[in-house]
């Protein structure tokens, strides 16, 4: 028997996609039980939209819709929390043994829980990451052990006690990107393992342009750039930090320039994070990535 909290942060999402995601979670609970799992689940959404996406009537309707499979709750934050803070606030409320941290539009496979819970038989495993489809993340993992250097926040299950032990997400530093890398490395510094589960596909809708590459938004470019600088600083990689700062400051890209400025601002204010892993036992910076990659996307 185990308890698990499914949680996600909403931000102006299309509810049709959210219902598909919720239906898939409920179905995963059903299939898990049919395969012998004694699982008690609850789903909670934290909403950082400008206006609530779910009113009381709809909340009650959702509770009724899924009552056979999971309890449902909803919290309107009233501010734009970002994923790191939002997920932390939701996790802090929970008493469940496991927390599923996921994007709200991720659709899980029917056998999601059946496959994702298998690695947790090893007590040293703290996080299990699902395989995203149609665009699988290119980061490397060991084919034999399935160990990987970090788990994406798009969809992973973490032991709640470990989440708490390492202090949840560092939302003071990271708004949207690299919060998951940072958490993963702290988990590994604490002696735990992270497993990538290729048997558990989850559908995370992404599209690529006819040139065959990503189409990131302006916000995504900015927050990714900013996060990269804070990662380099926090994880004690001065060479990478200085190279990146120079590149950003000489760039014509507005988001890069803005990211560099934000770093210097925090530097001046003394609000940069405490530095970790000076001997680089865990942290890796490889060609702009945080682990080896199987291939170059694009």
């Amino acid at each position: 028997m185990y308890t698990i909290q499914f949680q996600s942060v909403l931000y102006h999402n299309d509810m049709k996609g959210i219902y598909k995601a919720m239906d898939s979670l409920a179905n995963a609970v059903r299939v898990a039980r049919e395969n012998g799992h004694e699982v008690r689940a609850n789903l909670i959404y934290g909403d950082s939209s400008n206006q609530p996406l779910i009113d009381i009537t709809e909340k009650e309707a959702i509770q009724k819709r899924y009552q056979d499979y999971m309890e449902f709750d909803y919290v309107f934050f009233g501010f734009n929390s970002g994923s790191a803070k939002g997920q932390t606030l939701l996790a802090q409320k929970s008493k469940a043994e496991y927390i599923l941290v996921t994007n709200p539009d991720v659709i899980v496979n029917p056998r999601f829980l059946v496959e994702m819970m298998k690695p947790f038989e090893n007590k040293k495993v703290a996080i299990v990451e699902a395989r995203q489809t149609p665009v699988e993340h290119a980061k490397e993992y060991d084919i034999e052990t399935l160990e990987t250097d970090w788990a994406t926040g798009a969809c992973n299950i973490i032991r709640r006690n470990v989440f708490e032990e390492v202090g949840y997400y560092d939302y003071h530093t990271f708004f949207m990107y690299c919060d998951d890398v940072d958490l993963s490395w702290r988990v590994r510094l604490a002696g735990y393992k992270i497993i990538y589960q290729p048997n558990a596909p989850v559908y995370h809708a992404k599209r690529i342009s006819p040139a065959g590459n990503w189409q990131p938004t302006s916000a995504e470019i900015y927050y990714s750039a900013e996060a990269g600088l804070f990662m380099a600083y926090k994880w004690s990689n001065d060479e990478y930090l200085n190279q990146t700062l120079e590149f950003f400051e000489n760039s014509e890209n507005e988001e890069y320039i803005k990211a560099a400025a934000e770093f210097h601002k925090r530097e001046a204010e003394g609000t940069l994070p405490k530095r970790l892993d000076p001997k680089h036992k865990v942290a890796k910076f490889i060609n702009g990535n945080y682990t080896d990659h199987r291939y170059i996307v694009g």
């Binding site: 898939s24 084919i143 034999e144 399935l146 989850v202 559908y203 992404k206 590459n213």
Partner: protein, 643 residues
């Protein structure tokens, strides 16, 4: 038509066949009344002789309870067929009466072509309706077919009737007409119908898209993932026909388990159809037969689609209804991996390759298929009405054959959206590995032979493209004959680490001279204009079967310091064996990363390159690659490769 004695005798034999003898009584429906017919054997044929035709009279006292037959024919006068059949339906309601209809087919090939070309038909055909129209009217009023005696003309009779001259236009029109109208050989529709009181009314409640998915029940996780990608669609207007082909007991059980575990909203869209026997084409045939959507798309049980796959087809259909719909597709290498948690996990091992990110090219497609099956949706009409079916004799390229034969009539509309991924399994069997090169070559020749059987129409703009292809071919031939060197157009792309990676804005092109021995040496200058280049990509051609060897690049920076790199640090979409790179697919690419965060002013490449390999060498390379992947005893590639 002339109602000859021959036709009169034909009618009499039909009337005898349906026991419409002089014991029967019938009503011949006219626009404004009836003709009572008490001796069908005699009176009906007389109508066709246009002799002794009784005056049409309005009958006040029709002995309806003794009427056995209702006759509808175009012999006497023009009729509004809808009104006539409606009256016939009332007369046949709740009774034993049958309807005999004998009507000329406006769509008969001789008439259709004569009208099309302006020659006319001399007023000899009174019909204003095609068979399809008449069937629709009859169905509308609840009539079902009892027996058919259509007057069909054989091909040589048709050709004799229409063959005023043997122009290419006539030849094409004949082919097109026969293809689009399966009733085109019917000169007269002569049938018996009965009113069916519980006739099933057709509804419009059918999906936009029927998704046909073949499976042999052996790839569980791949199938689950394919279904997951369908559940993630933004447009839910589709059904899934899951065709279980040659299922064993375990496969059948597995499929049922997957369906039972599927989310309910998706589960209700799935129809499982078991197909036994035949080859890989057979399930497609069965799927098309069972489909009810306006369009049909095909997915194998290991394909995955982006969330706007259905949406893009739907949007394209709204503007280009009736055409084949084509979207872009990327290719990606994958592996099946067995891990400690059981089952088979799936692992992507390469980036997206944009081999199939191009519009459908009618001319190029005659030689090579660049459209994976799941990048296409076919109008079901072309299958049902035009009779264009899959060729079940084919074990390979069945999709290409079907695509081209349909495109010759339907045409193709394109959306420049990448909506699907074609997964290549590097450690699993597929048709590329099961069948040898000779099967592929023989089948290709056979399919092209089929294309040759009929005239083909190409879209506007094809003439100038054909001229260009011929001129380039002639030019290449002249160069090969008269000059010791050839010139090839290379492309260079700069990646600056931003979102405009490898786009036309970051491209340069240059002709490269290659000696007869394949030696080349090329410099791309003034690259500092791009800024700090992260990666440099070179495309030596658009062709397939290129080999590169002994390649080196020298990068010169703004401080005039130089850095040499060789094949050991290159990335490519080819296969590296020793100091050679083989590109078995079109659009070869080689990429070096810039080892310094500094501006490059010049990149100079040199090495050897082979183009235009002969068939024997191509076959040797393919065999070597196949054996290299599948052999338990890996051998030294360099020793066995022969030029």
């Amino acid at each position: 038509m002339k109602y000859t004695n021959e036709y009169k005798n034909h009618l009499i034999s039909i009337l005898k066949d349906i026991e419409c003898g002089n014991q029967s009584t019938g009503l011949i429906l006219l626009d404004d009344g009836y003709l009572l017919c008490q001796d069908p054997f005699t009176e009906i044929p007389m109508l066709y002789e246009h002799t002794n035709i009784p005056e049409p009279t309005l009958q006040d006292h029709i002995p309806f309870d003794r009427i056995d037959w209702i006759f509808v024919t175009d012999v006497l006068n023009y009729q509004n067929l809808d009104d006539v059949i409606m009256r016939a339906a009332k007369l046949c309601e709740n009774s034993h009466r049958k309807l005999f209809i004998d009507y000329g087919n406006l769509g008969y090939i001789a008439y259709a072509l004569a009208v099309f070309t302006g020659q006319g038909i001399g007023g000899c055909n009174r019909s204003r309706y095609t068979v399809a129209e008449m069937e629709k009217i009859l169905m509308k009023y609840g009539f079902t077919l009892v027996k058919e005696f259509d007057l069909k003309k054989k091909l040589d009779e048709q050709e004799e009737e229409i063959n005023q001259n043997k122009t290419l236009l006539n030849e094409y029109l004949l082919y097109a007409k026969q293809t689009v109208d399966s009733d085109s050989d019917i000169s007269r529709m002569t049938r018996v119908y009965q009113k069916c009181e519980n006739a099933i009314q057709r509804t419009d409640d059918k999906p936009f898209l029927s998704v046909i998915m073949r499976t042999q029940g052996k790839r569980r996780l791949e199938l689950e993932e394919a279904l997951l990608s369908l559940y993630g669609q933004t447009d839910d207007d589709f059904e899934i026909l899951l065709l279980g082909h040659n299922l064993d007991v375990d496969g059948k059980a597995m499929l049922q388990e997957i369906i039972d575990e599927t989310i309910q909203d998706l589960r209700k869209k799935i129809h499982l159809i078991e197909v036994n026997g035949g080859n890989r084409t057979t399930p497609l045939v069965r799927g098309f037969e069972a489909a009810s959507g306006d369009y049909v798309a095909m997915l194998d049980d290991d394909d995955i689609v982006f969330d706007h796959w259905v949406e893009t087809f739907h949007m394209l259909a709204k503007e280009h209804g009736g055409k084949i719909l084509h979207t872009y597709c990327v290719r990606q290498d994958w592996l099946n991996i067995h891990n400690k948690y059981g089952g088979t996990g799936l692992r992507a091992t390469g980036p997206f390759e944009k081999l199939y990110c191009r519009d459908f090219d009618e001319l190029l497609q005659m030689s090579t298929n660049t459209c994976p099956i799941h990048s296409l949706a076919f109008p079901l009409e072309s299958y049902r009405k035009y009779g264009i079916h899959f060729d079940e004799q084919l074990n390979v390229v069945e999709d290409w054959d079907f695509l081209m034969r349909t495109s010759f009539l339907s045409g193709v509309a394109n959306a420049q959206e990448i909506t699907s991924i074609y997964r290549i399994w590097r450690n699993a069997e597929n048709s590329a590995t099961i069948y040898g090169q000779n099967v592929w070559d023989d089948t290709r020749r056979y399919v092209i032979g089929k294309f040759d059987q009929n005239p083909i129409v190409f879209p506007k703009g094809s003439a100038s493209r054909l001229v260009k292809i011929i001129e380039e071919r002639n030019s290449k031939y002249m160069i090969a004959q008269n000059e010791p060197e050839i010139r090839k157009l290379w492309s260079f792309f700069a990646d600056l680490g931003d979102e405009k990676i490898f786009t036309p804005e970051r491209m340069r092109q240059q002709y490269v001279t290659v000696s007869q021995e394949g030696k080349f040496h090329v410099s791309f200058e003034e690259l500092q204009d791009f800024g700090i280049i992260k990666r440099l990509r070179f495309d030596p051609s658009e062709e397939d079967f290129i080999t590169l060897s002994d390649i080196e690049i020298e990068l010169e920076y703004e401080d005039h310091k130089k850095k040499q790199l060789d094949i050991r640090s290159v990335e490519s979409n080819g296969l590296r064996l020793g100091n050679r790179l083989f590109f078995l697919e079109a659009d070869p690419q080689i990429i070096w990363s810039n080892p310094k965060e500094e501006r490059i002013i010049r990149a100079t490449l040199k090495g050897h390159i082979l183009y235009d390999l002969d068939q024997e060498t191509k076959h040797s390379i393919q065999t070597i690659v196949y054996d290299h992947y599948h052999s338990q005893n890996k051998f030294d590639i360099k020793k066995v490769f022969k030029r």
